[in-house]
C-alpha cells in the first residue's frame, strides 16, 4: 500500500498545512511550500475529528504559527491535546521519516504533544513559559544552525542566518538538566539564538530567555523540526528589515527550509 511507504514521493509532494481556530500563519506557510514546488492543502483539525482526511496521503505536515484556540490555558496546549486525540497517526508519520515542521505555535504544540524533542516517547520533556521580558515581542534574531544535526529542513543552509520571531510564550524550558545533555548528545538542538558575531548572549539576542539559547529542536532522525522563528516570513529578500541597505541577498533564506523538505520528497 502506497500510504505505508516511509517517504511519500512525488513530483509535487502534497503538504498538509494544519489549521485550528486561531491559526494565523497558514496562508503564508502554504504559499512558501507552493513556491518551491509543493502542493499545499489547508486542513482543519475538525476535518480529522470528522475523519474526513487521511494523514498518510500527505508527504509533509506543517503546523503553522498563530494563537490556536486563542492560546487559552497555555500556548499550543489545546491544539496539542487535539493532535493527540484526532491525529494519532502523526506519531507513525514522524517515525516513518516523513518531514514535519512546527513553527512558533506549531512548535509549542509539537512539544506539548510529546512529538519533540524525542519523537519515540510520548512523554513531554520540554515546555514553554512566558518570555523573560514578560511581554509579547516581535523582532529579528540571529540564529546559528547546528551543522552536526541530521535535520533535513536545514541541510545546506549557512551556519548563521536571520529570521523574525513574534511570540509571548517562547522561553523553552526542560524538565531536568539531564534532558539538556540528551539533546546535545542526540544533536537535537537545531537552532540557537546568537549575537551577530555568533555568541550565545542574553536578551535581546536571546529574545525570550530559552535554556541554552535554544530556538529550534529536531528529532534525532532529523525529519521533524520545531522552531520559534518564522521561516515563512523570510521568503524574499524584501522581507529582511535591512533589504534597503544591502544588495547581495538573492532570496529569503527561510524559503530554503521549505525547499529542502519538498526536494527531499521529490528525489
Amino acid at each position: 500500500m502506497m500510504s505505508s511507504k516511509p517517504v511519500l514521493r512525488g513530483k509535487r509532494p502534497k503538504v498538509l498545512v494544519l489549521r485550528a481556530p486561531g491559526t494565523n500563519c497558514d496562508m503564508e506557510t502554504a504559499l512558501a511550500f507552493k513556491v518551491v514546488g509543493g502542493e499545499p492543502e489547508l486542513v482543519s483539525i475538525s476535518d480529522f475529528r470528522a475523519a474526513k482526511v487521511r494523514l498518510m496521503e500527505f508527504s509533509i505536515v506543517a503546523i503553522p504559527g498563530g494563537f490556536s484556540y486563542g492560546d487559552d490555558v497555555a500556548a499550543g496546549k489545546i491544539l496539542a491535546n487535539q493532535v493527540k486525540l484526532y491525529m494519532k497517526e502523526i506519531r507513525n508519520f514522524v517515525r516513518l521519516g516523513r518531514p514535519v515542521i512546527g513553527i512558533c505555535n506549531g512548535f509549542q504544540a509539537l512539544v506539548k504533544a510529546g512529538l519533540l524533542p524525542f519523537s519515540g516517547a510520548a512523554e513531554q520533556t520540554a515546555s514553554f513559559t512566558a518570555n523573560d521580558s514578560g511581554r509579547f515581542e516581535a523582532r529579528w534574531v540571529h540564529l546559528r544552525l547546528n551543522t552536526q544535526s541530521m535535520c533535513l529542513w536545514t541541510q545546506g543552509l549557512p551556519e548563521m542566518i536571520e529570521l523574525p520571531v513574534a511570540h509571548g510564550e517562547g522561553k523553552l524550558v526542560l524538565k531536568s538538566p539531564r534532558h539538556l545533555e540528551e539533546l546535545k548528545k542526540n544533536k537535537s538542538i537545531a537552532l540557537q539564538y546568537v549575537s551577530d558575531d555568533g555568541k550565545l548572549l542574553g536578551y535581546p539576542h536571546n529574545p525570550n530567555g530559552s535554556v541554552f539559547n535554544i530556538a529550534g529542536l529536531t528529532n534525532p532522525e532529523g525529519n521533524c523540526l520545531g522552531l520559534m522563528p518564522h521561516p515563512e516570513r523570510f521568503t524574499v529578500r524584501h522581507h529582511h528589515p535591512n533589504w534597503t541597505r544591502q544588495t547581495f541577498m538573492k532570496e529569503g533564506i527561510g524559503l530554503e527550509m521549505f525547499r529542502n523538505a519538498v526536494k527531499y520528497c521529490q528525489s
Binding site: G22, E28, L31, F136, A166, T244
Partner: protein, 833 residues
C-alpha cells in the same frame, strides 16, 4: 456600520413621505409599551434621561408626533431603535446637519457641513481609483494590476470605552474596525491594522477626579488590548502613532484602523426581498447596551458603564475565516457588522431600501433572561449579519459550524418598507424605514471662530549670539527625548507587525531595526497568493493637535501634508493616494468648539482640492469632554487624524529613512520659514510664532518632483520634516543608518532670507523632505527637482556625529549620534519600567 455618510437631502423625497404608522396589526406588544404621546414634556425628558436614550427635545417631539399620528403608543423597543439610529454615533448629526458659522468677519450657513466640505471635494475630484466612498462600512479603492483587487480602508475611534476600561475598550475597538472591513462590500480580508493613541503624559502628576484612570494605566491597557486582539487575529499592526497632551487625561483617544483586500467582483453588495437574515458569530448577551447613545453624552460619574466589554478575538477569527470561504463560494449577497446598536442597526441598514421581518427568539443567547428589546439592541461583540439566498443557507451553515461559530436565521428581508420585529409572536417594533432613517429632525447648530489672541510669549528663534549657539545641541537632545518624538519601540515590538509575511517596509528601520519609519509598506501576497505580482500599498498618518490649538484649519492642511510626505518617503505613488478623516472634538453644542471643527473641515476640503487627493471614508467622535477634579469642563484639544493610503506599484522600489552610506549628498526640498507656532520648540521653550501654513498646490509640485527622483532610483533615503523640524529629522536618519552628517545652514532656502540658526534648525515649515543621494546622482536629482525649491545642504559622513555650521560659518552644533540616540530611546522604557 457607523461610517459617516451624507444624509439624504433635507427636503428629499423620502423624508417627506413617511407614511403613518399603522395601528398594531393584531400583535400584542412584547413589552409593556410606554406612555409616551401624552406625557408632559418635562416628564418625557425625565424618561429620556432615565432610560438613557440621549434624544434631544426636538427629537422627542418628532417621535411623539409620529406616534400620535399613528394613534398608538410606541413600544420600548421602538423608541430604543429610533434613539440608537438617530444617535450622534450612527447618524453623525452634527457633521451631517446644518451649521451657521461665523468667523467675526464672514458668516456662512452650511445645510450639511460634511456634504459641503469633505464630500464636495471628493465629488469634484471624482478620482477614478475610488470604487465606493462614503456609502459602505469602509472606503474602497482600486489595488494592484489588472483591476482584480480592491482595498477597503477604515479608521474608527473607540474613545469612551477606553476611558473607563482601556484594555477591553481597545480590544473591542480593534474588533469593531476589523468587522467594518469584513462587512465592506462582500467582505475584505484584513491585511493591516493601525493604531494611534492620544493620551496624557504617562508621568502626569496632577490631580484626577474620582474614577478617572491614571494615563500610564491607560497607555499600558490600550497597548495590551491592541496587542492581544490584533496579534490573535493574525493581522499585522504596523502603523500608527502616539501623541501626549495632558488635556487628554479624562478623554483619551484611541484610533483603530484596518485595511482589507477584496476581489473587485465583491465590492458591491445587495439585498433581495426573500433573502434570509442570518446572524453569524458569537451569541447575544446583555453586553454593551446603549453603546451608541453612550458616545453621545459627555463622560461623567454617572456614565452608563454596561457598555464596556472585553473582546473575544478567537470568535472573531472564526467568523473571519468562515466568511472569506463563504464569500468566495458566493453563498451570500449582502453583509454588515453588528456594531453600535447591534442587530437593530445592522438589520436596519441592510433592509433600508426594502424591509425586514425579524423573529428575535431565534437569536442564540448567552443568558436566558434578556428582554426582547435587549436582544435587539445588544452590542455583543463578534457578530455579523448576512443576506443569504435560501438555497445557499445549508452550505453556509455547515461552513460556519465547522469553524466552530454560530449561524442562525433570524428572519427574512421583505419588500414592505417596514422593519417588523417580533419575539414569540409579540411585537417588539414595527417601524417605517423612511421615518427611521430620514425622519430625524435637523437641528441647526451655531459655530463661532475667533482667531486666538496671541499668547504673551516672546517669539521663537529671535535670540542669537554664542549663548544660544551652545544651547542648540541641548535643545536637540531634549527634543529627541520629548514624548511626542521619542522612540515608540516599546509599543511597536509588542505588536506582531510581520504576520502574513507582507510587511516589506517595517515600522522600525535602519541598521539595528530601531529607527522611526515614515510609513509601512504592505505586500499582501498571502491574501492574493500571487507570488509574481509585486504590488503593494503604504499607509501614513498626519496628526498634530498642537497646531490645532492655534488654528484647526492649518492643522488640517498640515496633517494632510504630513500624511502624504510619509507615503512619499516610503516610495508610494501619491498621485493615486486617498485620505481618511477622523475628527475627535469636544461638545458641538458649544459654538466655539464647533467653530474649530468647521475650520478643520474647511481645511480638509482645501487639502483635498489642493493636493488632488480624495477623502474616501471618515468618522467623528464628539463630546470628548468631562468634568475635572474641580468640577470644570475639561475639553480635549480639537484633534484630527488624517490617514493616507497609496499604492506602491512595485514593492522592490520602496524606501526607508536611514542613511545608507558616508559621503552622500543631502538635499532639502521645500522652503524653511519662520513657522514655529504650535511647534515642539514653542512648547519646550515657551515661545511663539506663526503656525505652519502649507501651500498645497506648490507642495504637490514638489512632491511630484521628489516622486520622479525616487522612481528613477536616485534617492537612497528620504524622511519628512515634522515635529522638531530639520534637527530631529536629520538626527533620526543619521542614528538609524549609523552614519553622521554635516550640514550648512546658510545653504538652506529660507523665507524671509534672514532667519536665526535656531529657527532654521527647528522650524516646522510644512512640505519639506530631506533626501540622501549618491554624489554621482547629484546632477540627475537637481534636474528632477528643477523648478522646485530644493538645495544641497550638506553630506553624510563616516564620523558618527551631527555637525551643523551656522549662518556665520562657525560650528553651532556638534553632537555624537550615540548621545542623540540614547536620548531618543530612553523616554518610554523609563516611564513604563
Amino acid at each position: 456600520m457607523t461610517e459617516r455618510r451624507p444624509a439624504a437631502a433635507p427636503n428629499g423625497k423620502r423624508a417627506t413621505t413617511a407614511p403613518v404608522v399603522p395601528a398594531a396589526r393584531g400583535q400584542a406588544p412584547a413589552d409593556e409599551g410606554l406612555r409616551f404621546t401624552t406625557l408632559p414634556p418635562k416628564e418625557l425628558k425625565e424618561l429620556n434621561a432615565k432610560l438613557g436614550w440621549s434624544l434631544n427635545d426636538v427629537e422627542l417631539e418628532a417621535i411623539r408626533a409620529h406616534f400620535k399620528k399613528a394613534g398608538r403608543e410606541p413600544s420600548r423597543g421602538e423608541v430604543e431603535t429610533i434613539a440608537q439610529t438617530w444617535s450622534e454615533h450612527c447618524k453623525h448629526k452634527t457633521f451631517n446637519g446644518p451649521v451657521r458659522y461665523s468667523d467675526g468677519k464672514k458668516s456662512r450657513v452650511f445645510r450639511s457641513l460634511f456634504a459641503e466640505t469633505i464630500v464636495k471635494a471628493t465629488k469634484e475630484l471624482s478620482s477614478p481609483w475610488c470604487l465606493s466612498v462614503f456609502k459602505d462600512n469602509a472606503g474602497i479603492v482600486q489595488f494592484g494590476k489588472g483591476g482584480r483587487w480592491a482595498l477597503a480602508v477604515k479608521v474608527e475611534t473607540h474613545n469612551h470605552p477606553c476611558a473607563v476600561e482601556p484594555y477591553g475598550g481597545a480590544e473591542t475597538g480593534i474588533g469593531g474596525v476589523i468587522r467594518d472591513v469584513l462587512g465592506a462590500g462582500l467582505g475584505a480580508k484584513p491585511v493591516l491594522n493601525t493604531d494611534t493613541f492620544c493620551l496624557a503624559r504617562p508621568d502626569y502628576s496632577g490631580e484626577l477626579p474620582e474614577g478617572a484612570l491614571h494615563p500610564v494605566r491607560t497607555l499600558r491597557g490600550v497597548v495590551a488590548g491592541v496587542r492581544d486582539y490584533g496579534n490573535r487575529m493574525g493581522i499585522p499592526t504596523a502603523g500608527g502613532g502616539l501623541w501626549f497632551d495632558d488635556d487628554y487625561r479624562l478623554n483619551p483617544l484611541v484610533f483603530c484602523g484596518t485595511v482589507g483586500i477584496l476581489p473587485t467582483w465583491a465590492v458591491r453588495k445587495e439585498v433581495k426581498p426573500g433573502d434570509l437574515i442570518v446572524a453569524v458569530g458569537g451569541p447575544t448577551g446583555r453586553d454593551g447596551l446603549h453603546g451608541a447613545t453612550f458616545s453621545s453624552t459627555t463622560m461623567d460619574g454617572e456614565t452608563d458603564r454596561a457598555a464596556v466589554q472585553i473582546g473575544h478575538p478567537l470568535n472573531e477569527k472564526r467568523v473571519l475565516d468562515a466568511l472569506m470561504v463563504a464569500r468566495d463560494r458566493r453563498l451570500y449577497r449582502g453583509v454588515t457588522d453588528c456594531g453600535a446598536g447591534g442587530f437593530s442597526s445592522a438589520i436596519g441598514e441592510l433592509a433600508r431600501d426594502c424591509g425586514a421581518r425579524v423573529e428575535l427568539e431565534k437569536a442564540p443567547l448567552k443568558c436566558s433572561d434578556l428582554e426582547p428589546w435587549e436582544i435587539w439592541l445588544s452590542e455583543a461583540q463578534e457578530r455579523m449579519v448576512l443576506a443569504v439566498p435560501p438555497k445557499s443557507y445549508p452550505e453556509l451553515e455547515r461552513l460556519f459550524h465547522a469553524e466552530g461559530t454560530g449561524c442562525s436565521v433570524l428572519g427574512e428581508f421583505t419588500k414592505t418598507g417596514r422593519l417588523v420585529v417580533t419575539h414569540k409572536g409579540a411585537r417588539v417594533a414595527d417601524l417605517d424605514m423612511g421615518f427611521l432613517h430620514d425622519g430625524m429632525p435637523r437641528v441647526e447648530r451655531r459655530a463661532v471662530w475667533t482667531e486666538g489672541s496671541k499668547p504673551k510669549r516672546g517669539p521663537c528663534g529671535a535670540r542669537g549670539g554664542p549663548a544660544v549657539r551652545g544651547r542648540l545641541g541641548s535643545i536637540l537632545t531634549r527634543m529627541l527625548a520629548h514624548l511626542n518624538v521619542c522612540s515608540r519601540e516599546w509599543v511597536i515590538r509588542q505588536y506582531d507587525h510581520e504576520v502574513q509575511a507582507g510587511t516589506v517596509i517595517k515600522p522600525l528601520q535602519g541598521q539595528r531595526h530601531d529607527g522611526p519609519g515614515d510609513a509601512c509598506v504592505i505586500w499582501p501576497v498571502a491574501a492574493t497568493g500571487d507570488w509574481e505580482d509585486r504590488s503593494g500599498f503604504a499607509v501614513g498618518h498626519g496628526l498634530n493637535p498642537s497646531y490645532g490649538r492655534v488654528d484647526p484649519y492649518w492643522m488640517a492642511l498640515c496633517c494632510a501634508d504630513e500624511a502624504l510626505r510619509n507615503l512619499l518617503c516610503a516610495g508610494a505613488d501619491i498621485s493615486k493616494a486617498s485620505f481618511l478623516d477622523n475628527f475627535c472634538w469636544a461638545s458641538p453644542e458649544v459654538p466655539e468648539q464647533l467653530g474649530g471643527l468647521v475650520r478643520a473641515a474647511l481645511g480638509c476640503h482645501d487639502a483635498a482640492k489642493g493636493y488632488g487627493i480624495p477623502f474616501i471614508s471618515g468618522k467623528d467622535s464628539l463630546y470628548n469632554q468631562s468634568r475635572d477634579e474641580k468640577g470644570r469642563e475639561l475639553a480635549i484639544p480639537g484633534t484630527l487624524l488624517i490617514t493616507a493610503v497609496a499604492p506602491v506599484p512595485d514593492i522592490t522600489h520602496s524606501l526607508t529613512m536611514d542613511f545608507k552610506g558616508p559621503g552622500n549628498s543631502l538635499f532639502l526640498v521645500g522652503v524653511t520659514k519662520d513657522e514655529t507656532g504650535g511647534s515642539l520648540l514653542s512648547q519646550m521653550e515657551g515661545c511663539s510664532g506663526e503656525v505652519p501654513k502649507p501651500d498645497p498646490k506648490a507642495a504637490a509640485r514638489s512632491f511630484k518632483a521628489v516622486a520622479e527622483a525616487i522612481s528613477k532610483k536616485l534617492v537612497l533615503s528620504a524622511h519628512d520634516l515634522s515635529d522638531g523640524g530639520l534637527g530631529v529629522a536629520l538626527s533620526e536618519m543619521a542614528f538609524s543608518g549609523e552614519f553622521g552628517a554635516s550640514i550648512e545652514l546658510d545653504q538652506i532656502l529660507t523665507s524671509p532670507a534672514m532667519l536665526s540658526d535656531e529657527t532654521i534648525l527647528f522650524s516646522e515649515s510644512p512640505s519639506r523632505i530631506l533626501l540622501e543621494v549618491s554624489p554621482k546622482d547629484d546632477l540627475a536629482v537637481m534636474r528632477a527637482l528643477k523648478g522646485v525649491p530644493a538645495r544641497r545642504i550638506g553630506s553624510t559622513t563616516a564620523n558618527p556625529l551631527i555637525k551643523v555650521s551656522g549662518l556665520d560659518g562657525s560650528v553651532v552644533l556638534e553632537t555624537l549620534l550615540v548621545e542623540l540616540k540614547a536620548a531618543w530611546q530612553k523616554t518610554l522604557p523609563e516611564l513604563l519600567k
